[in-house]
Symmetry: C2
């Protein structure tokens, strides 16, 4: 009997990321230096911050001119109006603005606090934005690693999202390539032969969470290799994390 | 340099669980048979279904007499009124009842579909309920395993919850003992020396998700050992998954 087991290992020694950094090269170098083998059976989970920095997805607050809506929201929420303007620029709509919390839907469809705009681990008055299209980032990273390695691991771009009824954040996949984002068990049968209804584990989100558990607190370990998910790995890039976004018309909590 | 890595291994060969089953004994037997070592540095993640069955938390739908509210909701949602009555019996309030979806707050405070009442992997017209107090279940399992093993691993009781804006389910901790449910990083500093604000990773939920990735589809592998979380393991049982429940007064999505 084969026991499937999962392993998540951070790739240490990734240098500070600058815009236009060669992330694929950095990962392969660091992995080689630490004798960490990467194969097509693995999932590379990149922290959003690492991808955003490499893609130059940063904005300087001193260059932002807040508009009327940003000024009003900022005063209501006691936030920096320039930050609120950046958040609005990244959002298609505001889901909640209450008690200091600004939850929006990003242009990619992800619902999260502050549209993922974040000032930690970026210097000074810079804030980092989510990648423009995190699925495209994942596909590009997968192709770049694959070209140099000779085989392409799956790639997840991960960010930490809060939850409406639970405290704390969990890592979720905002981008993915080469990994089934969802494991569609519907139509399958349980151990008693009854059909499994509506069971649809969010594989890519759980892979992001597993990776999140091994990151150091200071954000230096932004890339984690997850092994043991072979049965969810696909040759094609697949639908990406877009498949994890609930359609707006099905949202019961608008 | 020590690289922290995470490992999740399902414990195979757990027999079908009957009410009053000796879960702690079953885990230790199965682990020994498969040469899986369990120590105080490990987290044992039990699927809710396994714990519920062992605790006899099952109800037979044929014995349920639906009341007026259950009849009305059932007709609105196109559900079995007896099942709706069971869900209401397990809930403190209804959060959403729309488009065939019934989301409630359980008496323990967890917000989820159908109050966690579930008919899969239980025979016939039986449905399984969440444990009466999953934190107490976790503490009891931890103590029982600890007594026989001579050292007590941390214990998580896990269930799969949907998310309002994302498709698919992820495993979360509905009970926990001996593991910090949240890793409070607030007041710490990022790699650039700036204070990390509001970063509070939900360790127990992410441990449940990591374990979820190695379960087989048919529900036979209900217990998973997670290694590599030593820095979150505590001698005392701690606050449990109750600490993961956002207070009702802070809920922006009632």
């Amino acid at each position: 009997m084969t026991v499937l087991s999962l392993e998540a290992v951070p790739i240490p020694g990734i240098p500070e990321i600058e815009p236009a950094a060669d992330l694929a090269g950095m990962v392969l170098d660091a992995a080689q230096r630490h004798s960490i083998r990467i194969s097509a059976a693995d999932v590379l989970v990149f922290a959003q911050k690492v991808v955003s920095k490499a893609e130059g997805r940063l904005r300087a607050l001193e260059d932002v001119e807040p508009g009327d809506r940003a000024l009003a929201l900022a005063s209501e929420l006691d936030k920096d109006p320039r930050l609120v303007q950046v958040i609005l620029d990244e959002s298609s709509d505001v889901v909640r603005a209450e008690r200091g919390v600004l939850i929006t839907r990003t242009r990619q469809g992800h619902v999260c606090a502050n549209a993922g705009v974040d000032g930690s681990n970026v210097p000074g008055e810079l804030v980092s934005l989510l990648p423009e299209d995190s699925d495209e980032s994942a596909r590009r990273l997968r192709a770049e690693v694959g070209r140099r390695l000779g085989e392409a691991p799956a790639v997840v771009v991960s960010d930490s999202f809060g939850r409406p009824w639970r405290l704390g954040q969990t890592e979720v996949a905002i981008g993915c390539a080469g990994l089934s984002p969802l494991d569609d068990r519907r139509g399958l049968h349980d151990a008693l032969g009854q059909e499994l209804k509506a069971t649809l584990p969010a594989i890519a989100d759980q892979a992001a969470s597993a990776a999140g558990l091994v990151r150091s607190k200071d954000g230096r370990e932004g890339i984690v290799i997850v092994r043991g998910l072979q049965r969810f790995i696909t040759g094609a890039d697949g639908p990406g994390a877009a498949a994890l976004v609930r359609a707006r018309e099905d949202d019961l909590f608008k």
